[in-house]
């Protein structure tokens, strides 16, 4: 836990940054450009050090998001060395542990996804602990440095984390390293009021990080950060997997269909007959429009 600090020093520009680093080995091996994990790490370490230098009360916690597990690898408040490089041995240890957890049957199909939901939950737990440490605490925020594609299986867990963060007013910033956008992180940043950024030039990652993500929450109010792109909240129907903005919803399990069904294909509920077949623009259709910036 953080060492006792004179509480009057904890002003509103003191930050607690939870940084989630994607250490999915398959993702990093799949990157074709010369932006290696080593380069990435050096940029991130420089960024973390700058944050620690911005305010001496700033606190940085790094969580490694692996393929099979996730773990705290650095906490500036308990670290012996104030420099972020001290996370490297722990990171190594973590990677080894993560490897031992993976099954021996050779390679995985595709890149796979890292355990973003787990890492988010750990970050939120840490933040909750800080919240309970006293009335004055550093302003927390979460920064996801993520590259692996989204894992659909984690959808519910991630959404729960997002809503939990929204409730505790913790913004989730996301910086997408990979070549494809992350719908999860887009939603996470949109919902929690964080910044979503997908750098165009990975060589300038540090510049992106320093420009966009280094400032504390209070100063953000005065800055023009990249605008959130429009997030498409529209759902796809369960029957044809096509994105729809109006549809029919099972009253039992909330499954979505693009046309009237006699029976819910998800939970098996049998729907009653409506009185009259009205024109589709009326009553029981719910419209959900994609929000736009």
């Amino acid at each position: 836990m953080s060492p006792p600090v004179p509480s009057k020093l904890l002003t509103d520009d003191v930050s607690l940054i939870m940084v989630l680093i994607d250490t999915n080995p398959y993702f990093w091996s799949s990157i074709e450009s010369n932006f290696t994990f080593a380069k990435f790490l050096s940029h991130v370490l420089a960024f973390l050090n700058s944050i620690l230098l911005l305010n001496q009360l700033n606190q940085v916690v790094v969580i490694a998001t692996g393929f099979n597990s996730c773990s705290y690898v650095f906490d500036s408040s308990i670290s012996v060395s104030p420099r972020a490089e001290s996370l490297l041995p722990k990171l190594e240890e973590f990677v080894e542990n993560d490897e031992s957890l993976s099954q021996d049957n050779g390679s995985v199909d595709g890149v796979g996804s890292s355990l973003l939901s787990g890492a988010l939950s750990m970050a939120l737990c840490y933040i909750q602990r800080v919240f309970r440490s006293g009335p004055l605490h550093p302003q927390p925020r979460i920064l996801c440095l993520h590259g692996s594609p989204d894992g659909p299986g984690q959808y519910v867990a991630i959404m729960n984390s997002i809503f939990s963060a929204q409730r505790s007013m913790v913004p989730i910033d996301s910086c997408v390293i990979g070549s494809q956008h992350s719908a999860f992180l887009q939603q996470a940043s949109y919902i929690t009021g964080g910044v979503y950024l997908k750098p165009q030039q990975m060589e300038g990652l540090l510049q992106y990080l320093l420009t966009v993500f280094a400032t504390d929450l209070h100063s953000r109010n005065f800055l023009q950060l990249p605008k959130p792109v429009g997030v498409d909240f529209r759902a796809s129907c369960f029957c044809h997997k096509s994105t729809i903005d109006m549809g029919f919803i099972c009253s039992v399990c909330l499954s979505i269909f693009c046309r009237r069904q006699k029976k819910c294909s998800t939970c098996g509920s049998v729907f009653g007959q409506t009185q009259t077949q009205q024109d589709p623009s009326s009553s029981d259709l719910k419209r959900k429009t994609p929000s736009s910036s």
């Binding site: 091996s29 390679s107 990652l205």
Partner: protein, 597 residues
């Protein structure tokens, strides 16, 4: 109004063609046609209950025709000598059809049929006028639509069938329930002689039969074989009189002499049976002891004294005792049951037979009702069970069968990526051919590399850094920076004057068009539909103009312009969607109509 109308008329099987002269007799129940030529086989005797509807020709028509349509679709045409004759017949037909219970059938069943020559009965017309007079809203609607010609009279009333049905003349008569009087056969004694008079009406007899099945049975048995009706009732009255004297001993003595009289004096076996049957149906878990605290319960006759019943009676007189509460209960049950038979009360025998039949039917039904017995048993076992000894009862729920949501999220993911415009490299899955060991190996290698050598100096190229910084701030410098400076300045002011004016012009014209467009719905007339088509054409011309305008502005302003144009497009889209849906619906409906004829 006359109950019977006899008129000269020609019968025709179709509206045109020659007819058979004859005499048409109309009563409230039926119409009879007798041809003048007795040898002709064309004669009718038809009940009005089989008549579905009727029509008649207009006053201005050449012939005074009346057309009666039977249920099976058969038509009877009658041509009258003059219109007054026809109208007299029409009136009685209208009433007859209305009375035959087929309410509303005077209006032909197809409301869309040409209704100009529909003729309503006077009563119906009066009722409609009355409704209009009573309800000013309705009157206004009627004025707005019917008199303006938007709706026809029939269409207007077709939606208000309920109001018409309330017409009092068509309601079935309320049935009179049984009187809630007990013992309406109070003996009348003149006080001087020893004569005692009982008055029986058919209503009283009905009540006696309903309340005392033994009397009913005795009546069916004795009358008229053994005694006349008068003798029977005299005997009954005698028995009643004996009861009213409360002299049990005397009653027993009389009964011993006259076995017919004994029937009336003894306790009613049938009633007793029925009571036993009812007791069996009582919930076995009913706790009678719980009510014992109520005082009147253990007093004889529940505290209502009727005679000296507290006297100790010898057992042989026991059957001749009658308790007041028994009578009271029996009476209450009968009154609550209401009038169960539907016969005229005049004939005593019919009443008795009908009641007996009814009772027997009820009894048979009850006996055959096995499920009732079963339910009773189940209830008993359920109430009497000892909870500790029962197996836990599972609530009757259907198990949930939920599909694995994973495949849904997979597709959602793909869609989301598609929506983000991530084509090319992002669209396909990243290939990863390395084995687990190699992948982890390389990661570890990278980490140890940094650990060994530390952070490379310089971390990044200054050119790259500048490029990134410019990229990040470009947006800010172009729009946001300018916007923030003057709070009064709107987005429009930053646009070139031409674009600004064009935008404003489009907005006003779109609004004008949309106002007219939406006010034309629902399309009720030909005029409106042509108007809507005209508006639609005008609106569709705006789309390309907007597109053109968007392309003409500079790239940095294009986003702003498209933001301004978007609500216009949305409004237009909504109008078009509604138009299309309406056209589709219309075509569907007209298709139906074609098939319907």
């Amino acid at each position: 109004m006359a109950d019977k109308v006899v008129k000269r008329a020609m019968y025709k099987s179709s509206a045109k063609g020659s007819g058979i002269p004859g005499v048409l007799t109309l009563t409230r129940e039926r119409f009879i046609f007798m041809p003048n030529d007795p040898s002709s086989s064309t004669r009718f005797n038809v009940e009005f209950s089989t008549i579905k509807g009727f029509r008649s020709s207009k006053e201005s028509a050449k012939q005074a025709l009346l057309n009666l349509t039977e249920d099976q679709g058969r038509n009877h045409f009658f041509e009258f000598e003059n219109f007054p004759d026809r109208d007299a017949c029409k009136e009685i037909v209208a009433i007859a059809i209305a009375n035959s219970g087929e309410a509303g059938k005077a209006v032909p069943e197809k409301p869309a049929a040409p209704l100009q020559n529909e003729q309503l009965s006077t009563a119906e017309m009066e009722w409609r006028i009355k409704l209009l007079q009573e309800n000013s809203d309705l009157q206004k609607l009627h004025k707005d639509f019917v008199i303006q010609g938007i709706l026809s009279e029939a269409e207007f009333w077709a939606t208000r069938k309920k109001l018409l049905e309330q017409n009092g003349t068509r309601r079935p008569k309320q049935r009179v329930a049984l009187k809630n009087d007990m013992l309406s056969t109070k003996p009348l004694s003149d006080g001087q002689s020893n004569r005692v008079t009982f008055n029986f009406t058919s209503e009283i007899i009905h009540q006696i039969f309903a309340e005392k099945p033994a009397v009913r049975q005795a009546y069916l048995k004795f009358v008229p074989n053994k005694m006349t009706e008068k003798e029977f009732w005299t005997k009954y009255s005698r028995a009643e009189y004996l009861h009213s004297t409360r002299n049990v001993v005397a009653a027993a003595a009389e009964a011993a002499e006259d076995e017919e009289l004994a029937v009336f004096l003894k306790q009613d076996d049938m009633l007793a049976n029925e009571a036993r049957r009812k007791i069996r149906r009582v919930d076995p878990t009913l706790d009678m002891e719980a009510d014992e605290g109520d005082d009147y319960i253990h007093i004889q006759d529940h505290g209502l004294s009727r005679g000296d019943s507290k006297d100790v009676l010898e057992p042989q007189y026991e059957p001749y005792r009658r308790s007041f509460s028994q009578n009271l209960n029996q009476h209450g049950a009968v009154v609550l049951q209401g009038r169960i038979i539907d016969v005229e009360l005049g004939d005593t025998r019919t009443v008795a037979e009908a009641l007996t039949r009814k009772k027997q039917a009820e009894l048979a039904k009850e006996l055959s009702d096995v499920s009732l017995e079963k339910e009773r048993l189940e209830r008993t076992s359920r109430m009497a069970e000892i909870e500790d000894l029962q197996a836990p009862r599972d609530p009757p729920v259907a198990p949930l069968s939920i599909k694995d949501p994973r495949d849904y999220f997979d597709s959602q993911q793909a869609n989301a990526l598609k929506a983000l415009g991530d084509t090319g490299s992002g669209g396909k899955l990243l290939k990863c051919s390395v084995s687990t060991h190699d992948a982890y190996g390389s990661i570890k290698e990278f980490i140890s590399e940094i650990k060994a050598s530390g952070i490379h100096e310089p971390l990044m190229n200054s050119e790259v850094a500048l490029k990134v910084l410019n990229g990040l701030t470009q947006n800010i410098s172009s729009t946001k920076y300018n916007l923030g400076r003057n709070p009064n300045e709107s987005v429009l002011d930053r646009l070139p004057n031409i674009t600004k004016e064009e935008l404003l012009l489009h907005w006003t014209s779109i609004q004008e068009l949309l106002k007219h467009f939406w006010s034309s719905y629902p399309i009720t007339t030909k005029y409106l539909s042509t108007k809507v088509a005209r508006l639609k054409d005008a609106m569709s011309k705006i789309y390309p103009k907007l597109q053109e305008m968007k392309q003409s502005v500079q790239s940095d302003l294009r986003h702003q312009v498209s933001l301004l144009v978007q609500p216009m497009l949305q409004a237009l889209d909504a109008a078009f969607a509604h138009y299309d849906a309406d056209v589709r619906r219309r075509s569907d409906r007209s298709g139906e109509r074609i098939n319907g004829y």
